[in-house]
Symmetry: C2
Subunit: 205 residues, 2 copies
């Protein structure tokens, strides 16, 4: 009878994480109390503290959950996979509070005294992996370093999201990401690979 | 005798602005009190409130002062000017607390309840202007829209700065900006113009 109990614990943890994300997204880090999160998750305060030591631990978990929500429905690899991941990310930011709260917390963490650069490195690792596949497939332009591209793209996506958000145009994010690839592909991909990439924002849905 | 008095007022306002920037940069928006800013500026609390209604007004002034500190020493125009401005920005962020505080506040503004997207639009306007010059000079690749490039570059620079900052590698910012242009130039400039651009980070000093 150990299995169902563990499953229940995993589900409870997940419910709390989602409730916390919704609360952080709506009320900000400071505005969201552990009590409010408990109320939204429909669990006891004891359950919240059983899974997360304090609000900061919850915020870190929300920040780190970012890459998990990013699974493209379309099968792809190499450069197209990178593009698809960025399009899923742009779409999910408009519809998924867990991702939105994770990005918001990652960006504002300094003002809350949280220091956690894990999510940046996670993204970079994932992007770099697909860029290495792209290189093996002969998609990259000569001299292009997967590491340099991964680092730049993660920074550019972070800033593009923020710029869209602060200027009140988050809905434009998928189109902005398409623009990013239109500007970047000539510099990172060989002409044949660049021409083959599908930049339809619908791939992110 | 009106002139000297006005000059003094301008200087006092400037001193307060710089003191506030130093305080915001070191202590964060919440940590910096009006009293602390007064102490650092070497003025009375009355003088601070004469020039700035409250801390939020000071923060907005610091955010808006960003483009003013960005004057490249090297003469240039078109695409090279855009590159030079970004290199000055990358260098100044490491040495100029007024710029650093402005960027930090612009990025974290939501968590402080300030909403001010002026600095983003200011940057965009400046960049778009030079991109239009670049187009007139025949530097841009066919079909490249100054507006789209300006919007993307402002977002990418914001995110690159933040990514460098959160991963504790702010000193790498000039090199990251060089990487950005290496990746972007093939997509936005015609081959001849791209080859003529000088990406020496020393141009920003």
């Amino acid at each position: 009878m150990v299995e169902p109990k563990q499953e229940r614990a995993v589900k409870t943890r997940d419910d709390i994480l989602r409730a916390a994300a919704l609360a952080f997204d709506e009320l900000g880090y400071r505005g969201a109390s552990m009590r409010e999160i408990m109320r939204r998750a429909g669990v006891t305060l004891g359950a919240v503290y059983f899974h997360f030591e304090n609000k900061e631990a919850l915020a870190r978990a929300v920040i780190r959950a970012q890459p998990e929500v990013m699974v493209p429905r379309v099968h792809s690899q190499g450069l197209q996979r990178l593009v698809d991941l960025s399009l899923v990310w742009a779409h999910q930011l408009n519809v998924n509070p867990l991702l939105r709260a994770g990005v918001r917390l990652a960006v504002e963490q300094r003002s809350h005294g949280i220091e956690d650069d894990t999510s940046f490195y996670e993204w970079e690792k994932i992007f770099q992996g697909w860029l290495e596949v792209a290189r093996e497939q002969g998609e990259l332009a000569p001299g292009v370093e997967p590491e340099v591209v991964a680092e730049f793209v993660v920074g550019a996506m972070t800033g593009t999201q923020q710029h869209a958000h602060l200027t009140g145009t988050t809905a434009s994010l998928p189109q902005r990401i398409v623009h990013m690839w239109q500007l970047l592909l000539p510099g990172i991909a060989c002409a044949q690979a660049a021409a083959a990439i599908d930049l339809d924002p619908g791939r992110g849905q």
